[in-house]
Symmetry: C2
């Protein structure tokens, strides 16, 4: 059995093959090939903590994956990271436990970043250059890193905004040390008005991005809203968009960025599309250069399966999972 530590996993990451794997997983999920039962959940309200168990299998894969991810939000005050987690990879032929990835939440952060990059690349205008990043958490960084990799032929420029200007500057400085040029923006409205691409990564419970700020042709990837009550975009903006695309529509309409617009009757399910259908060429993406496109990502086990297999593929190249012919 393979047991890999976080640092071993980090060393095995190849962003290009991981992008390919996660993209293929979105397509497989939209094609109905992913078995993804409801997410398991445990709450620890006394400790401001919770635990999510995501698990599933993609038809034809030699493995199935169970991910346990814990978030304890008071941990930083005692010097521990908020996120913890582990991914278990089992043989889908024998049930034998093949690998334990002690990633401590790293792979969830990475696959979320990859998902955003795949969605943004697929839906933005071909001439999009100016990227606005909203929020300074770990996802803000991963969205930038992954999008640069996914669109490496395109000279993107990045501006970052957060409620705390100090944090925005700090994040920009930290990314500069990775060789990534990001400018901290003082004015959210101006940043949005000037952007071709907006990526929102905050846990906001009230809309931050106003409808009036968004020009025709803008693409928005909304990452933050992943639970009831969270919302980053004006409901009117969700209603106004020309294309609304969710990673897993059921989740997006129930507790993602589209839920308020859906529950108020502003949009219906047929007004939305699934990301995998667009990536697989079975549904239209952006039709016109002045379309406003919004992708809402809520996260799904298919991404976890893909990223776990991508790490194992790098570890044992002989047993590569290949979905390219699927």
């Amino acid at each position: 059995m393979i047991i890999l530590s976080r640092s071993e996993i980090e060393a095995l990451v190849d962003l290009d093959s991981a992008l390919h794997a996660v993209e293929a997983a979105y397509v497989a999920a939209s094609d109905g090939l992913a078995m993804m039962p409801p997410v398991g959940y445990l709450a620890f309200p006394d400790k401001d903590g919770d635990c999510h168990i995501k698990y599933g299998h993609i038809a034809g894969d030699p493995t199935f994956v169970v991910k346990v991810a814990a978030g304890f939000y008071g941990n930083p005050s005692i010097g521990l990271p908020t996120s913890n987690g582990v991914m278990l990879v089992f043989s889908a032929a024998t049930g034998v436990l093949e690998a334990i990835l002690l990633d401590e939440g790293f792979l969830t952060d990475l696959r979320t970043g990859l998902g955003g990059a795949i969605a943004t690349r697929a839906l933005c205008r071909p001439d999009a250059r100016r990227v606005a990043i909203i929020g300074t958490g770990i996802q803000a960084r991963w969205q930038i890193r992954c999008l640069r990799q996914a669109m490496k032929e395109t000279p993107l420029t990045f501006g970052i905004w957060a409620r705390s200007q100090a944090k925005a500057r700090e994040t920009a400085n930290s990314l500069a040390s990775e060789g990534i040029d990001v400018s901290a923006a003082a004015d959210l409205e101006r940043l949005c008005r000037d952007a071709d691409i907006i990526i929102t990564t905050t846990p906001s419970r009230e809309p931050l991005i106003r409808d009036a700020w968004i020009r025709p042709g803008t693409h928005i990837t909304a990452i933050g809203a992943d639970a009831p009550g969270k919302q980053e975009l004006d409901t009117a903006l969700v209603g106004r968009a020309d294309r609304r695309i969710g990673d897993w529509l059921e989740q997006s309409l129930d507790h993602g960025e589209f839920s308020t617009a859906f529950k108020s009757g502003l949009i219906t399910s047929p007004d939305c599309t699934e990301l995998g259908a667009v990536l697989g060429g079975k549904a239209a993406g952006r039709a016109h250069s002045d379309d406003i496109t919004i992708v809402d990502l809520t996260g799904m086990a298919a991404q976890d399966i893909a990223i776990a297999n991508s790490i194992l593929d790098a570890y044992r190249p002989a047993q590569r999972v290949d979905r390219s012919g699927a």
Copy 2:
């Protein structure tokens, strides 16, 4: 972090403290202290395999536990065991993964044996001596081992029956090598008519044990029925019993031994009791020496939590989980 292999886990087992831990877990569950969400499930019909994810937390425990158990029923034909599994133990204060128990299903077998022994001890007549074991699988052996330990002051005698007499003799011989005296029985009816205690451990889908064979005063512990369609006891026998007790009543009535009698209207939920309530002294157990008592065990995460903590307690005695005052 602690990682223990199956052989390391086996060496840490102390049956007496494990019996104590599992009994306390049943009581805690019936007291409403156990958070046990619905079991996660993945099916692999092409490979005759499935995977169950049981997870939960008992209020006051320093840990929570996630168990992944796979069963692939064609494995023996390729020289692999049917069961595989792993238990993950996390801190309930920080979400940190504290231990990985690579038990390969061993702890599930053990805790099921312990559950049967606890139930049988609590419900059988004080003068019960003759034990009939139905089936020759791994659970037949564990039920015998655990019951001998739980009732070590009582000179029990064991008879075992299976459809294949050869298998019954083989199992008796194998247990003899552990110093356990078990006689292989040729006639199921006679074995049942003579028994004070009957423990059924088969995956049967039609009743094996007829109502007419069961004398007043008999106790039955039914282990086998844990999924829709499985049944080991005559429906009339379930209806006739003076006490019907389930480990988790919801499961027993839905897909355990009581489900046929319940769905046909022969019994209602108030005609049944939960094991933890009996063990905790909040509900009556056996009232008369000629009562027929039936306990149906379907398995629950509280047992997994208890057995995992019992192993870790043995590994690091300083951090013992103590529910004795609860």
